[in-house]
């Protein structure tokens, strides 16, 4: 069984902030980490491999330093990884990102199952997985909460719906996005770290793809554009209370009584 997992490097914290008075972006030391939701995708792949055997690759797109998260996935037990990195990929929106990843997936060759995390903690869109599946022309199931069965030519999964759970049988090749908590992610292993220290991480750029038209990548390949960024609007109609606890609690209760909550 050939499994491919898509992962992303995201900011370690939400450190990008706008200065309230000047409107200028403030920047503190930026640290990065593997998108926490991707840990569940990786763990799902590892569980499936332990059950039926096979090979796990990871693919990511980002600046060269994103190879760190591929190293991290090696420490969890992933067999092979590749990073898609090219200046011409910069400024990509959901569509261009999904297209770039789908080109990268085709570059890597055959697969049965692609697993993505539910969403990333920086973009929070949850849309790259489904768009990739469209570009690859394969079915997808989003919000998978449980793997029921894994067979020769199909997988049986539980998918979270607004009021129900849909149990679906999906033929390979296909893509699933998995929910948080599908399996408990394992910790990176020091033994694997030592064993995989020298394992190569190939970098692929636009010139390695089938489609080398720069207009399909990065900002040019992105239908949506950012017109401007701004700090969230403050609510002007507000009161701030300070003082000792007793006084504050008194005020709070008076207000809640006035508003008829108590």
């Amino acid at each position: 069984m050939k499994i491919l997992v898509c992962i992303k490097q995201v900011p370690g914290t939400s450190e990008v902030e706008v200065d309230e008075t000047t409107g200028v972006l403030k920047r503190d030391g930026i640290d990065s980490k593997l998108n926490p939701y991707d840990l569940y995708a990786l763990e799902t792949a590892l569980q499936l491999k332990e059950k039926v055997g096979g090979h796990i690759s990871v693919i990511s797109m980002g600046p060269p330093q994103a190879e760190e998260i591929i190293k991290e996935s090696y420490m969890m037990g992933v067999d092979q990884g590749a990073l898609l990195t090219d200046k011409r990929f910069a400024g990509a929106d959901v569509l261009a990102t999904a297209y770039t990843l789908s080109q990268g997936v085709e570059k890597l060759g055959d697969y049965d199952l692609i697993i993505c995390g539910k969403q990333t903690t920086d973009g929070d869109t949850a849309q790259v997985g489904p768009e990739m599946a469209e570009f690859l022309n394969i079915p997808h199931v989003a919000n998978v909460v449980k793997i029921i069965d894994i067979c020769e030519d199909h997988i049986v999964v539980e998918m979270d719906m607004p009021d129900t759970i849909e149990v679906a049988k999906v033929k390979y090749p296909c893509l699933i996005t998995v929910e948080k908590g599908i399996y408990q992610p394992r910790l990176p292993s020091f033994k694997l770290k030592l064993a995989t220290n020298d394992r190569k991480i190939p970098f692929y750029g636009l010139d390695d793809f089938d489609d080398r038209d720069e207009n399909n990548y990065g900002l040019s390949g992105s239908p949506t554009q950012v017109l401007k960024v701004f700090p969230p609007q403050a609510n002007t109609d507000h009161e701030i209370w300070q003082g000792d606890s007793e006084e504050l609690v008194g005020k709070l209760c008076d207000k809640l009584q006035e508003l008829k909550f108590i």
Partner: protein
């Protein structure tokens, strides 16, 4: 190909210029300043940097004929014909925008045996409802649903398509948007339309405390998803207006590699979205046991308890009780936010609440920007005495009711 170029001869202080970028996308290599792959094209370097150093170069591209696309379409989110209330909220927003540009509002409804249910939509001022009714569309499967959606867009050519940010919508909208090679903005919290039909889409961005105004200048249709409880549903009118049109689609297009084996009912949990009063516990909670006081407070106020992402990550709370972009969006009558700093993703999930009370020790916490009543204090000091006082008030109100009863009997 659009890109940012750096006019090297104008570079005076490279270190300072590197710091302009919030994403570390400017490198200084061999006395040469360059943009690396981390660039998000936010254009901050152009706006904030010295005049002429950073420059955006764009090639001329083929322009889309915006007049060829007319109407605002709403996807009818449903399970077994039961329409999800986010649909009505989107119809309300669609009508508001359609009026500005004098376009019709349409709905696309796909499923099986749903015609009856569709008449309900006509009480909300929709001009036309397009129905795809087929056995193959009975359960949600991505390929046939995408095919029907594609058929609708290809024939009706709506300029804007709004989809509810439910689990179904978040799976379907990207698929259809990709099929049309067009833009999709997820989880918008503000939508408006320009005279030239460009959709203004505003959402939190870049994982930071920033809002982004996103638009789709040269592609149609423009897709946006919006969570439940962001907009308000219009009043249901007694009379129905508008028409229903039945559509059919080639059976071949409804083929799928997915087979739905079973539909299971979910165990009924309290929906956070339905709560009238919510108490939120944030990062200030030091240990799991301390959630006890939050629950006690909630019981006294008849409220539900919700949390922020750090507490979910710590495993102290049910992910279904998380507020924010990776959790639920809520709009209760009262929300008391305890020890939450107020990341933009969290605020996006609750800022429409009627009354927001926030308690936090840090007077600069962003939560105070949205709170109607901000209390600068430690929750460990305030909450216990708040709980005591509530108990006393409750008892005295019981006492006074008893007293009334006694008096009435005398």
């Amino acid at each position: 190909m659009a890109k940012i170029i750096i006019n090297q001869e104008k570079v005076k202080n490279p270190e300072e210029l590197m710091n302009l970028c919030p994403f570390n996308a400017i490198d200084y290599v061999n006395e040469y300043l360059e943009i690396n792959a981390a660039c998000k094209m936010c254009n901050i370097c152009i706006k904030e940097g010295p005049e002429g150093v950073f420059e955006l170069v764009e090639d001329t591209v083929k322009q889309v004929d915006k007049d060829a696309w007319k109407g605002i379409a709403v996807y009818v989110d449903h399970v077994e014909g039961n329409i999800h209330p986010v649909t009505f909220e989107l119809i309300g927003k669609a009508k508001e925008m359609a009026e500005k540009i004098n376009h019709p509002v349409t709905c696309v409804f796909m499923g099986h045996n749903i015609k009856e249910k569709a008449t309900e939509l006509l009480h909300y001022g929709v001009d036309r409802v397009f129905i795809y009714d087929d056995k193959e569309l009975e359960d949600f499967r991505i390929e046939p649903y995408t095919a029907a959606f594609e058929d609708f867009i290809a024939s009706e050519k709506p300029t804007i398509v709004l989809v509810g940010g439910t689990t179904v919508g978040r799976s379907l909208a990207p698929r259809v948007a990709a099929r049309f090679r067009t833009g999709l903005t997820a989880d918008c919290i503000i939508l408006d339309v320009q005279e030239n039909t460009d959709l203004d889409q505003i959402r939190p961005a870049f994982g930071g405390n920033i809002m982004a105004h996103i638009y789709t200048p040269n592609h149609r249709p423009q897709f946006a998803t919006v969570r439940y409880k962001i907009f308000s549903a219009p009043e249901r009118a007694e009379n129905s207006t508008g028409e229903i049109e039945m559509r059919s689609i080639d059976k071949d297009k409804l083929k799928s590699n997915i087979e739905v084996i079973e539909i299971k009912k979910k165990e009924k949990v309290e929906n956070l979205e339905d709560a009238e009063v919510i108490i939120v516990a944030g990062r200030a909670i030091k240990k799991e046991e301390d959630l006890g006081m939050i629950h006690e407070l909630a019981d006294l106020l008849g409220a539900q308890v919700a949390t922020t992402r750090p507490l979910i990550e710590a495993g102290w709370s049910d992910p279904r009780k998380q507020i924010g972009l990776s959790g639920r969006t809520v709009k209760p009558k009262l929300i008391i936010v305890c020890g939450v700093s107020g990341a933009v993703q969290f605020i996006a999930g609750m800022s429409n609440s009627d009354c927001i009370i926030a308690i936090n020790t840090d007077k600069n916490a962003s939560i105070f920007n949205v709170a109607h009543y901000g209390i600068i204090a430690d929750i460990y000091q305030v909450l216990p005495s708040f709980i005591e006082k509530l108990k006393i008030l409750k008892e005295s109100s019981v006492d006074s009711e008893l007293l009334k009863l006694v008096e009435a009997n005398v």
